[in-house]
């Protein structure tokens, strides 16, 4: 090595923070970086479906409280919004897609273990800050939970939501206690998810076409097209454990949705830092934001949160409900630990 090369090689490498900031500034076209936005990730309990409480009868009051949350989040039709997607959003979406594409293939009946932490604001539901363990199949049609040390199947809520249809949960069931912590029950957001697991392979293959297809689904009451698209993708991501290539396409489609923004300083309901994809909800839906949070290193799904605004009677920036995925793993059956 020559003296000049030695002199050059002595230079310390740039920090990751420096490169990340420069990259973001570049892709943002030179706009100043967005400041930290207070957490407002969005988990909507039952924006379309209904929160069904089963198990212990002592949770009737909790069901009422949850119903209030549903009413606050009730969707309404609004004008279709248009606008360009931020380059940072697309960049983050592509990174998430790359990470998702590298994950293992799964079968629809594959069991998945979840350890999660749920949060509901005191005036919108019971059992804030409860950590629990559940199992679901990859296609979200079967679920089990741990009750008093024993694994029990989650009762099917079809009679409440979709009579005559098979069980279909949205997201993972949430274990709850009553307001005194004496009774424990299970709640699942169940309803008709717009795309059945069996229909996933027939979705458009290109992320732009996929986004258009989802935005065009006949979903009355789901709000403007960007919100509809975000909500459908969110439901698919939080409910199913999908083929990795499809998950990747959904993240890319997420990056193309107008008005979706990235919060690099998102915090989930477990207090962990993450990268958030969020969308503002129209006032008819309570205002605020719906948000997905991803791990900033692995881009694995960390959770979701719902923040409602004053239009729904909530304080500005108030997280109404959310779920943090503390651990998830493919397992051989319900009750099996990773």
């Amino acid at each position: 090595m020559t003296l000049l090369e030695e002199f050059r090689a002595a230079v310390a490498p740039p920090s990751e923070l420096t490169l990340t900031g420069a990259r973001e500034r570049m892709l943002g076209g030179g706009a100043p970086g967005r400041g930290r936005i207070s957490p407002r990730w969005t988990y909507r309990l039952g924006s379309r479906g209904k929160l069904a409480l089963t198990g212990l009868g002592g949770l009737a009051a909790a069901a009422t409280a949850a119903a209030v949350a549903i009413a606050l989040a009730a969707p309404g039709a609004g004008p279709v919004r248009t606008g360009a997607t931020s380059l940072v959003v697309r960049e983050m979406a592509y990174r998430a897609a790359a990470a998702a594409a590298a994950r293992p293939e799964v079968a629809p009946g594959q069991w998945v273990y979840w350890q999660e932490k749920a949060y509901s604001s005191p005036d919108s539901g019971p059992a804030p800050n409860l950590t629990f363990q559940v199992w679901t199949t990859a296609d979200g049609t079967d679920a089990a939970w741990l009750l008093n040390g024993k694994v029990a199947p989650v009762p099917c809520a079809q009679s409440i939501v979709d009579p005559g249809k098979s069980c279909q949960y949205i997201g993972q069931p949430i274990v709850m206690t009553d307001d005194r912590g004496k009774s424990t029950g299970i709640a699942e957001t169940s309803g008709k998810i717009p795309v059945p697991y069996a229909g996933l392979s027939a979705l458009p293959k290109d992320p732009v076409a996929l986004g258009r297809y989802i935005a065009g689904l006949p979903l009355r009451g789901w709000g403007p097209a960007p919100v509809r698209e975000f909500e459908v993708i969110k439901d698919l991501l939080i409910t199913y454990v999908m083929p990795p290539a499809l998950t990747a396409e959904l993240y890319r489609a997420l990056g193309n949705i107008p008005h979706v923004t990235v919060d690099r300083h998102a915090t989930d309901v477990a207090g962990r830092h993450g990268i958030g994809f969020k969308i503002a909800l129209p006032s008819e839906q309570g205002g605020g934001f719906d948000e997905l949070i991803l791990d900033p290193q692995t881009f694995a799904l960390m959770g979701q949160q719902l923040t409602l605004g004053p239009a729904a009677g909530a304080k500005a920036g108030q997280v109404v409900s959310g779920v943090a995925i503390l651990k998830s793993a493919l397992v051989s059956g319900p009750g099996r630990m990773p």
Partner: protein
């Protein structure tokens, strides 16, 4: 495999968790309709550009100028020559022009190293070991006069020399500076001669570099 996954693998130019094999020209062309693709160009070259600037102005300035370099590049990507597969000369050229706006800072930076022996751009934790350490320590004793000699070079000669020292071929360095190859060679030769004089006869470059790289 689902239909989705089959098509996903057929889609060109998208990240799949695999290294992107597309050349810079292709990425830049694609970035005109998919701007995030320029991020791959950034990932390939940003650390090297940062090091090049840090060597000339220090790390703090490099933190700023590497961002500015790529911002300029991003905004000018529509005019990139698609016949140039590597964006390296183009990016180094932008960085060099930005450095040239801080000539006084650069001279002060090199003179400070020459005077104090403290190199603010160096990695304080990257200490070599054993024989390599002894050899590097010997080299570092020459960094002070080398920095002093660099401060005394004409700006155009220093540009040419430091681009070549950063690993660019003569052709790439000429392209970066927008000068003919012959001009670049003359500048490098003149710079080396002056450095050799400043170092008491020590050649700052080996024979291969004297002959050029490209």
């Amino acid at each position: 495999m689902s239909q989705m996954s089959q098509v996903a693998h057929e889609s060109p130019g998208t990240e799949r968790g695999q290294p992107d094999e597309q050349d810079d020209a292709g990425l830049i062309a694609e970035s005109c309709r998919a701007p995030e693709r320029f991020g791959v160009v950034f990932d390939r070259h940003a650390a090297a550009i940062h090091g090049y600037i840090a060597r000339r102005l220090g790390r703090d300035a490099a933190d700023d100028l590497v961002a500015e370099t790529f911002l300029v590049a991003f905004r000018q990507r529509g005019g990139y020559d698609p016949a140039q597969p590597s964006a390296r000369p183009w990016l180094y050229g932008i960085a060099t022009r930005l450095v040239s706006r801080r000539r006084r800072d650069e001279v002060r930076f090199f003179r400070a190293i020459a005077r104090t022996g403290i190199d603010p751009a160096a990695d304080p934790v990257a200490e070599p070991v054993a024989d390599e350490g002894i050899r590097r320590a010997d080299a570092r004793t020459l960094h002070r006069p080398l920095a002093g000699a660099l401060a005394g070079l004409a700006a155009a000669d220093r540009d040419a020399l430091l681009l070549v020292a950063d690993g660019l071929s003569y052709a790439e360095a000429a392209q970066a500076l927008g000068v003919p190859d012959g001009t670049l060679s003359s500048r490098v030769a003149r710079a080396r001669r002056k450095l050799r004089e400043g170092l008491g006869g020590v050649n700052p470059a080996d024979e291969n570099e004297e002959q050029g790289r490209g």
